[in-house]
Symmetry: C2
Subunit: 198 residues, 2 copies
DNA sequence: CACTATTGGCTAATGGGGTTAGCCTTATAG
DNA sequence: CTATAAGGCTAACCCCATTAGCCAATAGTG
């Protein structure tokens, strides 16, 4: 019954581009409205709220992000694949800072965000799979995936915030991080108590 | 000449507490004013702007954070010290989410933020020092410090955002991350080309 | 102890951002 | 061709940051 729906996904995409340009915290309904050539209140015919917009950007971004990483892994295996994925991870985050920031979201109330959790899991599975090709001595792949994800996310975030003193050497540091982690995973942790940190 | 100065640092501290309670993004001048029992505009007699408040919280937080980590390291050395610091890092970040978030700041224009850079460097030096006691085969301590910092920050951030699916096992995953990284550092990366990632 | 400069609080006001309500036009389905 | 609903608009509200300008209390100073 309705008319041509050109807006819904287009608005999200425009929002994502804007977020990349001005930073997610500076993404504003007013700014987006101007960008798409509409008065601010009109946006609410397409998006429920600013928060919903951010969520939409996050979901869309996770999809694109996952695709980019998958693409980077094809035809590679082992440590080479891990490195390729790590590079793709960092490059994508740098090229899409607003989208990347939208990727991390507070836990949406009571599982309301079914879709979000799904795409998020998809991305984690990519890490999971690439680590599976590493013949890890330690069977706990969940821990390994979390470790890799933490390392990549942390590095990329600190870099984006300008947290590393000197701008030079950052590429090498990233390579070092990835290689060190892979080396650690392959040798296994020589700790044998399963005690949680106090 | 002025009168008793009870406000300046107290306001920052109150702001830090509030940030921990409601989250840094929800920290507002109005809220803080209410908290300290004053009308909103009065805050501007103590703080230049909301952004300055956040910066102040960040600097103060970095000091406290550094102290907590130093305290955790005394009497320990080697991998044990690294583990202790890692635990202290995570615990502090969990106990002070608002302060921790304030810790990461965009690069303040042109070196305007001398003080910030200093306390930030202090914290990095702690990591630096604890890694020095590890007898690393690879002399590049800067890379090692960045790696450790990235890993810890990434883990803590993802955890705070509720990014890990299941809440259980997180303690073990953290331990795994730290041990894996230490193992990797000790064995050295078996990569020998210094080429930056493409 | 009185005097005065200054601090630290207040009210009023401005501008911007999110959001809602209600109107009106226009394309589309029938 | 026409009824309908999507999609745009203006007006209005509330919350927040920030500035201007006023006033009381306080702390040095004589």
């Amino acid at each position: 019954m309705p008319r041509a729906g050109l807006a819904l996904p287009a608005v999200i995409t425009a929002g994502a581009e804007l977020a990349d340009e001005v930073g997610l915290p500076h993404l504003t309904m007013a700014l987006l409205a101007e960008r798409v050539g509409v008065r601010t209140p009109s946006l609410y015919k397409h998006v429920e709220s600013l928060d919903a917009l951010r969520r939409g950007i996050g979901v869309q971004a996770l999809r694109e992000f996952g695709e980019a990483m998958s693409r980077a892994a094809v035809g590679r295996s082992g440590p080479d694949a891990v490195r390729a994925i790590a590079d793709a991870y960092r490059r994508w985050a740098r090229d899409h800072p607003g989208r990347y920031a939208a990727t991390l979201r507070a836990p949406a109330a009571d599982g309301a965000d079914e879709e979000y959790r799904r795409v998020s899991d998809d991305v984690v599975h990519i890490l999971f799979d690439v680590l599976a090709g590493l013949d890890l001595p330690d069977p706990n792949a969940v821990d390994a995936a979390r470790a890799l994800r933490s390392a990549l996310h942390g590095f990329v975030t600190i870099e984006a915030a300008g947290g590393f003193g000197l701008p030079r050497d950052v590429d090498r540091s990233y390579r070092f991080l990835v290689d060190t982690l892979v080396a650690g995973l392959r040798h296994g942790t020589d700790t044998r108590d399963g005690t949680a940190p106090r």
